[in-house]
Symmetry: C2
Subunit: 161 residues, 2 copies
Amino acid sequence: MPETWEIREGEVALEHDPSLQPNAGVVFIGTIRSPWTKREDCPKNIGRAREAGRAATVVLKPELAPALAGLKVGQPIVLMYWMNRARRDLLVQNPRHVGDPRGTFALRSPNRPNPIALSTVVITSLDPDAGVVGIDAIDCLDGTPVVDIKPWLETVDIPPA
Amino acid sequence: MPETWEIREGEVALEHDPSLQPNAGVVFIGTIRSPWTKREDCPKNIGRAREAGRAATVVLKPELAPALAGLKVGQPIVLMYWMNRARRDLLVQNPRHVGDPRGTFALRSPNRPNPIALSTVVITSLDPDAGVVGIDAIDCLDGTPVVDIKPWLETVDIPPA
């Protein structure tokens, strides 16, 4: 269930919660086991998470383990995870670290119409039979659902020169 | 509706379509207007799309236009789009260009439990009032639904050195 937060100065919300009328369904492919069990301890982004030097693990649903075939230790991946405590109705947000209100699509805030977070992480260990992937760091709470794993590709994930 | 494709040699599918039991709902925030109206013309990835030299447009739902505030022409963004013609049950795939069967999570194929594609593109024009964003290229069919727009950030979207 999303938590209720106060609207800060300059913030704008939709009049309705868009998630009440979904257009398609997402399936959770697994769960992130992270060192962060309390919101106040959780790093605000993957850079801070990496500085903390704590590894994390992606535990897939067992029936999806065969879909890991071909991934390798040391390889960068794009992890998509579902920020299930986020608000989905905010159009303009005023995060403390930014200083002025900014549109949701100009921010990496978890609060967005589809609360899917995205980080590029590195595979540190791999147990394809068990469906378990070790990663170097993560910036979400323990138990966060996973939506996708993709190989990170320079030609797709870096903007053109 | 997903199209039905033949299973190729070496491919493995789940016995059930996971999308029949979703865990959360996705809302479409808008639509991609792309030059590609037929599957056979559509570039296979964003690199090829860029070589084709054809621009594209993201048209947001009007009520979401305020969420663009703060984005700028020339800025790279991560675009998430919903590949609504993809299969969601494939665990191992044998794409023609790869040559050997590989797990879904080791491929950028649109066929995956959650058919969300991801490309880093550049904003070429911006009409925040109309909710229209011009982008340099895209590798999906005209009319593909959009799920999210995020600012591309070097610290989040490039793997650590």
